[in-house]
């Protein structure tokens, strides 16, 4: 593979006489630039190659300026500068920062001369190297860079690249870049109007800023008004996609809340046990993920991407056994005394936190995303969905679905519901209520552990992980209605979406405060939540 790549690179290299395959050896832009301070044509040629190899965005500017003969170097320190002649003085601009660094007399600086051979080379280099690269990613980035620089010199190459481009996404980016260049440099009004028309089909923030500046600065009235119209259209479309994005983020936050709360919906909702250590069970699940990952890293590094597949059952078992131990060791003695349960489990949460802190240390542990969970898909310019968020949404719904199935369709689920509805009756039917209690609590705790696996992918794995979710989880369960899994689902998603919709104009913290206040007020209106249980079970 690597060898083939090198050969292809070499071929292209020969074609354009540019060395971009040397990116790995490339020095930085800052290091390369001083190489232009020379009189040797050969050295300048090398410098161009080296500069291109840096892949720096400013390369295009330097090359264009060089082409126009405005690249100079200061005699005193050999610093390469961009020069603009203004009357009798020469205004210097630092190419590194694009800031003016003073006005000087001509004798202070020396021009870096350019000959025909170099010109040809520069033209080729301008945009060429990356626009025609083998990897679509690089071409895509090059198209973005051209879009940004809007250098007229890249146009011929861009046309060439568009002609041979096979990747649809990259091609459309290149066409956008071409339209952007035409918009800024085309002479005829019609060409520019056509460019605007093309650009307005792409509703992205980049287009918005481009069109906004055009509509403000263009001297051509027709272009100006066309840009303004296009701008409005783009803004409308952007705000629509922004709404979709908000919903997605809200659903994503909601699915995180759902994961954290669904275990609680079992222990609190179904059993009526206030488990303040629920967050710590989530935290234990996250640490289990970390341990499993480290185990894979040490023994099966090639299968590291699939460590999550092991981590999920492992976290379920670890957190579930903790849960059973908690139920048998503490909660069993406190049934019917919910406030005492609350206090005892709070104490337990302190112990678990401190335990994890003693074992793993107080700092964050690094749990990495597997390759199939990293990255994102861009639905349109305005809407980017990250894979890990998508996976968590899917995963949380899957867990909820399995849980509903377990509760409604299995013998264990039936026993569980029987015990929670009428303990003595269930007991006289021969159900071992103590056993069912322990397993139910273990189930809720195990799900908390699984939530920890998911949270380890998007949040810091630290001893305080659980603390951040416990209040929210209780809010979700209380808001949705105790004893009702669908209520938990609706509660989680509505809280998530409400939060994300308020964030843009209220800020993250204030949005959260508003949501909390809203829930507090809501509880007054409907003390039993959205989907309240009816009948005898209520008055307990």
């Amino acid at each position: 593979m690597a060898a083939t790549k090198k050969i292809i690179c070499f071929a292209i290299l020969m074609l354009h006489s540019i060395t971009w395959s040397a990116t790995s050896l490339a020095s930085t832009f800052e290091e390369t630039l001083p190489q232009f301070a020379t009189n040797s044509s050969k050295a300048k040629s090398k410098a161009i190659e080296a500069l291109v190899a840096t892949g720096d965005e400013r390369t295009a500017i330097i090359l264009e300026v060089f082409l126009k003969g405005r690249l100079y170097w200061r005699k005193s320190d050999k610093k390469v500068v961009i020069v603009r002649k203004s009357g009798s003085v020469y205004v210097l601009t630092d190419p590194l920062t694009s800031k003016e660094i003073g006005q000087v007399k001509k004798r202070i600086i020396r021009k870096i001369r350019v000959n025909n051979r170099l010109r040809k080379k520069i033209r080729g280099a301008l945009g060429g190297l990356t626009l025609l690269s083998e990897t679509p990613d690089v071409r895509s980035k090059a198209a973005d860079a051209v879009f940004k620089s809007r250098a007229a010199a890249s146009l011929p190459l861009l046309e060439k690249a568009i002609a041979r481009e096979t990747d649809h996404a990259v091609k459309s980016k290149m066409e956008l870049a071409r339209a952007a260049i035409q918009l800024t440099t085309a002479k005829s009004t019609n060409d520019r109007l056509a460019a605007i028309k093309y650009l307005s089909t792409q509703a992205t923030p980049k287009m918005r800023s481009l069109l906004a500046s055009t509509s403000e600065t263009s001297k051509d009235e027709a272009v100006k008004s066309a840009a303004a119209v296009a701008l409005k259209k783009i803004e409308k479309s952007l705000s629509f996609w922004n709404g979709i994005q908000n919903i997605f983020q809200g659903v994503s936050l909601g699915s995180v809340l759902l994961l954290a709360a669904v275990g609680l919906a079992i222990t609190f909702g179904v059993m009526g046990v206030i488990n303040m250590a629920h967050g710590e069970l989530v935290m234990i699940g996250a640490y289990t993920t970390f341990v499993v990952q480290e185990f894979f890293r040490a023994y099966f590094p090639e299968a590291l991407d699939y460590s999550l597949a092991v981590a999920i059952p492992a976290a379920f078992l670890v957190a579930g056994s903790f849960g059973i131990a908690i139920e048998r060791g503490i909660i069993r003695f406190l049934y019917g005394r919910p406030l005492e349960t609350l206090l005892a489990t709070w104490g337990l949460s302190l112990i678990l936190q401190q335990m994890v802190r003693s074992i793993f240390g107080p700092t964050n542990r690094d749990v990495s995303n597997p390759a199939w969970m990293s990255g994102s898909i861009e639905v349109t310019g305005g809407l980017v969905l990250t894979y890990n968020r998508i996976w968590i949404i899917v995963f949380s719904l899957l867990i909820l679905g399995l849980l509903v199935l377990l509760l409604k369709k299995t013998a264990f689920g039936l026993q569980m519901r029987a015990v929670t509805q009428n303990r003595s009756m269930a007991s006289s039917m021969g159900i071992r209520t103590g056993y069912v209690d322990a397993l139910t609590f273990g189930l809720g705790s195990g799900i908390a552990g699984i939530a920890g696996v998911a949270l380890s992918q998007i949040d810091n794995v630290s001893p305080n992980l659980g603390q951040n979710y416990i209040i929210d989880s209780f809010m979700v369960v209380v808001f949705g209605g105790v004893g009702n899994l669908w209520g938990t689902l609706v509660g989680a998603f509505s809280l998530g979406i409400a939060n994300k919709f308020m964030e843009p104009f209220a800020g993250a913290v204030l949005a959260k405060i508003f949501v909390l206040i809203a829930i507090i007020l809501f509880i007054q209106k409907r003390p039993r939540g959205l989907f309240a249980l009816k009948g005898r079970a209520v008055e307990n």
Partner: protein, 386 residues
């Protein structure tokens, strides 16, 4: 409850019937009398000299004790487990803090007589409206009681009218203090954000750091605990207190008997919040800072365990628990910093499972057994003021 035997109805009978309470008041009186002598009059090199840092430390514990009293009033006698009392405490503290911020005047780092330092730092040009009046001591003290009172009244009015009780109430009070914490962390709120209010100089013109001030604050706190105890004791031994206990033991039954349960709950909840506010106001000058971390839900839960350890529903038990636990905390966090959370966690679990009536419960059980041989063991004195 064994201690609720208020037979007579006149005079101070409500105090005299409560042995633990009598001991408590006696210890407070002794503290108020002895501490100034031992600290201010006994020479420093004497073995009987009481160091100033201990005076400040126990002054702080006493404000915690008052806070615990306020929680015991609603939890021990009315069954309302508030996990938000830390918020009322902190609000009272902020009231006092705002007064002391105004007292700094132009002695701050920026030397601005009009604005506290943090506002100058944030480029604010004028004092927000809710800071007006806080340069006046009596107004500030009025606010210290009023703000927690109003918040508790509104919150309670909404909650109790809709019959939100039990764990639901606990959870939403926790959400309340959490929301307040997030709010006070914001710089835009105008309460100093993250750093809170600090760098206090003096109170009513007296230097906060002076020995006399420390002793005065100690005495004030002790008197506040005594006053808080007397108020709570008066309430719980009145007819109203009887209804409260009835509500605690069976809320719906009390309602069916014709009592407007929510009004009783609202009354004690508001009163208790005001007591917590006073405790906060006394706390801040003794520690010299108030910041949003006082609103942390964990703090509010922790103070419930003080009451549980001392013995809920006895009032003096709450005082005992607050002082004991905090003394242990001071000792353990410096001697074995790792162990403190383990110890606190274990306390929560052991007390709820094995000691539902707290230390006072052990003592009274022990008393019942040895009623003939030793009539007056007075072991409560262990946790008192030294």
């Amino acid at each position: 409850m064994a201690h609720d035997n208020s037979g007579q109805k006149s005079g101070f009978a409500f105090l005299l019937t409560d042995t633990g309470g009598k001991i408590l008041l006696g210890l407070i009186a002794a503290g108020v009398f002895l501490v100034p002598i031992l600290n201010l009059m006994v020479p420093v090199d004497s073995a009987f000299h009481l160091p100033t840092y201990l005076v400040a430390l126990f002054g702080k514990y006493l404000t915690y004790a008052l806070l615990a009293l306020s929680v015991d009033l609603i939890w021990g006698y009315c069954g309302i487990l508030s996990l938000g009392h830390g918020a009322f405490f902190a609000l009272g503290g902020y009231g006092m803090g705002m007064y002391m911020m105004r007292q700094i005047g132009d002695r701050g780092v920026y030397g601005n007589a009009e604005l506290p330092d943090f506002m100058v730092f944030l480029n604010w040009t004028e004092l927000p409206w809710y800071w007006f009046g806080f340069s006046n001591f009596s107004f500030a003290m009025f606010m210290v009681v009023l703000v927690p009172g109003i918040l508790a009244f509104l919150f309670g009015w909404l909650a109790f009218r809709s019959r939100v009780t039990g764990v639901y109430l606990s959870i939403i009070t926790q959400a309340m203090t959490y929301a307040l914490m997030l709010a006070f962390f914001r710089n835009d709120m105008g309460f100093g954000g993250n750093n809170g209010l600090t760098d206090f100089k003096d109170l009513l013109g007296f230097n906060l750091q002076s020995q006399g001030m420390r002793v005065s604050l100690f005495i004030l706190s002790a008197l506040a605990v005594a006053g808080g105890y007397v108020i709570c004791r008066y309430i719980v031994s009145s007819r109203l207190g009887r209804v409260l206990v009835a509500i605690r033991d069976s809320e719906s039954r009390t309602r069916f008997l014709g009592y407007r349960v929510e009004y009783y709950q609202l009354f004690v909840f508001t009163l208790s919040a005001m007591l917590a506010g006073v405790a906060g106001a006394l706390y801040v000058p003794q520690v010299g800072i108030i910041n949003p971390s006082e609103f942390t839900p964990a703090n509010s839960i922790e103070l419930v365990i003080w009451v549980a350890i001392g013995g809920r529903g006895t009032l003096y038990g709450a005082v005992l628990g607050a002082i004991l636990v905090n003394y242990a905390k001071t000792y353990l966090t410096s001697a074995f910093p790792e162990a403190w959370l383990y110890a606190l966690g274990a306390l929560f679990i052991l007390v709820t499972i094995f000691l539902p009536k707290g230390i006072v419960g052990i003592i009274s059980a022990w008393k019942v057994r040895k009623i003939e041989s030793s009539p007056d063991p007075e072991p409560e004195a262990v946790g008192g003021i030294k």
